[in-house]
């Protein structure tokens, strides 16, 4: 009897726990996390425990976010953004230098990387901004949005952290794009960007130029900058159709793949599971993105829609840029493979995104009613 009550209570608890969660998203994210554990066991088994803790923290954060209604999030948009920009300024002034980049802010009790915060703060703010424009957004609004976007992007790029800058820029751009920026302007901007490329080239740091140059001809510098790309390409290519098998990738196990538990973990995966594994991974990402776009399409408010669309596309950006750079079609910028690469920061950021998507999905009807 007692046991029956206990079981019923547990069931009730469980129902409450999972109520705000979205089944399909949870399933896809869960599969990706299982894949992550599996590949981590091969790439860097000693880090599994740490990564399991990271995953737990990320899932808790996701669960919390899933319960916060979008309206609440909207109220937080401005303070978070302002705080984020201030922190970025603080980093620029007082930040710790690590590996030649000033990215970290020492808060005494912990070191924080405020640029990571902007990946969520940016779409949040711009979605808020367009929600606030009652009318059809006009050119001036886009211009303001662009300034709000470029301020933190510029600060991050100066650290320099090209990878994060690109992700934040993309996140903001997706909001503007979903808000309806006209194709003419986008094409015009694209043309202008191409025209301004030589100028931008001069503004890049030497190591960034090097990365782009080695992308075009990695063999030129096989032991230096090209080493990463060459070795990861060899890993992928030698994986073949079905891969060399779990824990049997020679490139990975003999440490030819650099940063094989973080940014280059895809090379390990691809070497051991081959084209077949890649297809599974691409499919999971496609499903995750598809589900996210569906949630965006059905969201209740403009804010929710823009936010959901942008957050979803962040996943895409992570996945595409990472796999593109590891397989040698994009320059090497520090972007991890979403949900798979080792590291807590990116994982928490991404699960905040999933939590937001779940919250938006859970609240899709409420406002309209």
């Amino acid at each position: 009897m007692n046991r029956g009550i206990g079981l019923a209570t547990l069931r009730e608890w469980w129902r409450k726990l999972v109520a705000p969660l979205d089944g399909p998203l949870m399933l896809i994210a869960g599969l990706l996390l299982l894949l992550a554990i599996g590949i981590m066991a091969s790439a860097s088994p000693e880090r599994i425990n740490a990564q399991l803790i990271n995953m737990t923290v990320a899932l808790v954060v996701m669960r919390i976010l899933a319960q916060i209604p979008p309206q609440r999030l909207m109220h937080l948009a401005v303070p978070i953004y302002v705080a984020g920009v201030l922190l970025l300024v603080a980093v620029a002034l007082f930040g710790d230098v690590s590996k030649g980049a000033r990215r970290w802010l020492n808060l005494g009790f912990m070191r924080a990387q405020p640029s990571e915060l902007m990946k969520i703060a940016m779409p949040l703010l711009l979605a808020w901004f367009f929600q606030k424009r009652e009318a059809m957004p006009r050119l001036r609004d886009y211009a303001v949005a662009a300034i709000l976007l470029l301020l933190p992007v510029g600060l991050i790029a100066r650290q320099p952290d090209l990878g994060t800058a690109i992700l934040v820029l993309a996140a903001g751009f997706y909001v503007i794009f979903f808000a309806g920026l006209s194709w003419k302007i986008m094409i015009g901007m694209a043309v202008a960007a191409v025209a301004a490329a030589p100028l931008a080239w001069n503004l890049l740091h030497d190591y960034q130029r090097h990365r782009i140059l080695t992308l075009f001809d990695p063999e030129k510098d096989p032991l230096g900058k090209g080493f990463h790309i060459i070795q990861s390409t060899i890993a992928i290519g030698s994986g073949g159709i079905f891969g060399k098998g779990w824990k049997s990738g020679t490139q990975a196990q003999l440490e030819f793949i650099p940063e094989r538990h973080t940014d280059f973990i895809f090379a390990v995966f691809s070497e051991e599971f081959g084209l077949f594994g890649n297809l599974v991974l691409l499919a999971l990402y496609a499903l995750l993105i598809g589900r996210g776009l569906m949630i965006a399409a059905n969201a209740a408010t403009l804010f929710s829609r823009l936010l959901a669309g942008a957050v979803t596309m962040i996943f895409f950006t992570y996945a595409f840029v990472n796999m593109g750079m590891v397989s040698g079609i994009l320059p090497v910028v520090g972007v991890p493979l979403p949900l798979i690469s080792y590291g807590g920061t990116a994982l928490v950021t991404l699960f905040i995104g999933i939590g937001i998507l779940m919250s938006i999905h859970g609240n899709r009807m409420l406002v309209q009613k």
Binding site: A135, I234, G237, L254, N278, I289, M313, F316, F320
Partner: protein, 629 residues
């Protein structure tokens, strides 16, 4: 201001979502296309690249062939030892690295100097030894501190070792690190692959001449390596084949006795088996310790060896050219007989000098030897007899005969870099000098040629070979040091055949005359004292060669600076009737041949023929004192 139409706005948003979805699909298809390209189209290529990454072919250096004497005594061998090696290109600040290493492992100034020298001679990506022969304890100490020293590692290597030290060093030669010039030789023989893991190469002596026999065939190991180049496991193993063994004609004990007999003195001895040309002993003293070169010699030792006035690095047996002095006389006499210029019994009267164009060529003995025939001319070493003979024969006749005896030309011994010496003739003088007045041969110059002076200059091996040819009744063999080469794999012995160079077709009765006279030398003549009480019959001839020309003046040996003193010479063969050994001895600045050189020959013959070793093991000092007396 246009107010928004929710439906229209939603429609536009959804179309943007569709565009985004389409974009995602296109991008993913792009990725997929890339994967197809890498993993299917280019798979084989990348598979090979991955294997190349993974598998490293590590050459295994073969054991260098041993060198043993005719009785199997080991003269050159190998031992395995740990070395501490630095790859300069990977080590960063070298001074700091070495200072750091010195705190855990003893590194002497000598080691640093040697390392510096190796650095200058090699490329920075090669690994170079800073210390050799580490003890197990030192190895353990380094391993504990290894993390502090990038580019520094312990290696187990085989080292060449010459157990006798300086013993027979001019025969054996030494090995040293491969230089660009050695590489050219290796490439010329298309041995590059075989030498991939080898870092030593024969530099002089037999080590140089028989390099490609001694080296062996490299084995190799396919090793799986990680990105840091560390071996993870061995995949295949092909063992190396050790180098071939050289068995020498040298008798190590005889060589040792001969070397000791010189004591502190400089000089050379070559002993040959007349019937084969096999060299029984070849001494050049002072010698040097070839072990110094194996790990790379340090600059101080190198300078000492090279700048020493005693020239220990010069192989006097092959590269020292000396006037033969009176040891030339038996060959002159033989030439006279063969050319019909003298009959054995034909005697001359010796007033103590020979007058040529108003110039007195003096005899050693004041007042002369009286009536001198051929026998007496050799036994008592009468100069006047040979002044006259030389004058009668003429320089070109002398040159032609001596040339056939092998004097003034390379013998073809199996060591590189042999000198030619000087066989004077009209033609030689024309080539040698530039000015026309110097090119002309003057008849007066022929006179002193007759007693082995003048332009005459022959290497000890040439003298030994000429003596051996005489002992062998005119059949001349190519002198050689290696008896046979043993193929490691098959065990087959490749014999270095006795190679008859030529037969001089000497008349046996002529040889007999000379032989008898040379027996007389050791019985009743200039060699009698040295050979007193010998239990065998030997034939010999003493010689004293002037280092410097003292025009007509009397001179006393004791009062002269050591380096201006005469060279002492002695040639001999024994047993006289059926010679098994022929030799030439030269003691630089030794004074009289009878005093300085003949006793050395006696010790060598006593051992070789009777197995008798010198009574008091000739301590260098004692031997020297005896020689000077």
């Amino acid at each position: 201001m246009e107010f928004k139409n929710p439906q229209e706005e939603l429609g536009r948003f959804r179309s943007r979502i569709a565009v985004a979805g389409g974009f995602v699909l296109v991008c993913f298809m792009l990725l997929f296309a890339r994967f197809l390209w890498l993993q299917i189209v280019q798979h084989d290529y990348y598979q090979t690249r991955a294997e190349d990454n993974r598998i490293s072919l590590v050459p295994i250096v073969p054991n260098r062939g041993l060198i043993v004497d005719r009785n199997g005594a080991v003269l050159a061998r190998n031992y395995s030892a740990y070395t501490l090696e630095i790859t300069p290109a990977r080590a960063g600040d070298l001074e700091k690295t070495i200072d750091g290493l010195a705190t855990i492992i003893e590194i002497e100034a000598k080691d640093r100097r040697r390392f510096k020298k190796l650095m200058d001679e090699s490329k920075s990506f090669e690994t170079l030894p800073i210390r050799t022969r580490l003890s197990d304890e030192e190895v353990a100490r380094f391993i504990a501190h290894r993390y502090r020293f990038p580019g520094v590692e312990i290696k187990a290597r085989l080292f060449r070792q010459y157990p006798g030290g300086a013993f027979a060093s001019h025969i054996l030669g030494y090995i040293g690190r491969i230089t660009d010039r050695d590489l050219e030789k290796i490439e010329a023989r298309e041995e590059d692959a075989n030498y991939r893991g080898t870092d030593h190469f024969g530099k002089t002596g037999l080590e140089q001449r028989y390099e490609f026999d001694l080296h062996g065939i490299s084995g190799h190991e396919q090793v799986e390596v990680d990105a840091g180049g560390r071996a993870v496991r061995t995949l295949t193993h092909t063992p190396p084949v050790a180098g071939n063994q050289l068995t020498l004609t040298i008798d190590a004990e005889l060589q040792r006795i001969a070397e000791h007999a010189f004591g502190d003195r400089k000089g050379s001895l070559v002993a040959i088996e007349p019937a084969s040309g096999g060299i029984l002993a070849m001494v050049s003293v002072p010698n040097y310790d070839p072990n110094l070169f194996v790990d790379g010699i340090d600059s101080q030792n190198w300078r000492e060896l090279n700048e020493s006035p005693d020239k220990p690095m010069v192989n006097r047996a092959l590269n020292g050219a000396y006037p033969p002095g009176s040891t030339f006389k038996p060959f002159m006499a033989l030439a006279a007989l063969e050319l019909g210029k003298r009959r054995p019994e034909q005697a001359i009267s010796d007033p103590g000098f020979f007058n040529f164009g108003g110039h007195h060529f003096r005899d050693d003995k004041k007042g002369g030897h009286g009536m001198v025939d051929m026998y007496k001319s050799i036994v008592h070493s009468c100069d006047t007899y040979y002044y006259m003979l030389a004058n009668d024969m003429g320089i070109d006749n002398i040159a032609a005969f001596m040339g056939r005896l092998g004097l003034g030309q390379r013998t073809g011994i199996d060591i590189d870099g042999e000198s030619e010496g000087v066989l004077p003739s009209q033609e030689w003088k024309k080539k040698r000098f530039r000015k026309p007045e110097q090119q002309k041969w003057y008849a007066g110059e022929t006179i002193s040629i007759g007693i082995g002076q003048g332009y005459n200059a022959y290497t000890p091996i040439q003298l030994a070979q000429a003596t051996a040819t005489l002992a062998n009744n005119g059949v001349m063999f190519r002198p050689h040091l290696v008896k046979y080469v043993t193929d490691t794999r098959s065990g087959d012995k490749r014999l270095i055949e006795p190679e008859p160079l030529r037969n001089l077709q000497l008349k046996p009765e002529h040889v007999e005359v000379i032989r008898n006279a040379m027996i007389g030398v050791n019985k009743e003549g200039t060699g009698a004292r040295a050979f007193a009480g010998a239990e065998y019959v030997s034939a010999g001839k003493t010689g004293t060669a002037q280092v410097f020309s003292y025009k007509g003046a009397e001179h006393k040996t004791e009062s002269m600076a050591a380096h201006l003193r005469d060279h002492a010479l002695f040639i001999a063969f024994a047993p006289a009737d059926k010679p098994t050994i022929a030799l030439a001895v030269l003691v630089e600045n030794g004074g009289f041949g009878a005093q300085a050189a003949a006793p050395i020959a006696r010790q060598v013959l006593d051992y070789y023929l009777l197995g008798r070793k010198p009574k008091a093991p000739a301590l260098p000092d004692e031997a020297a004192a005896e020689g000077d007396g």
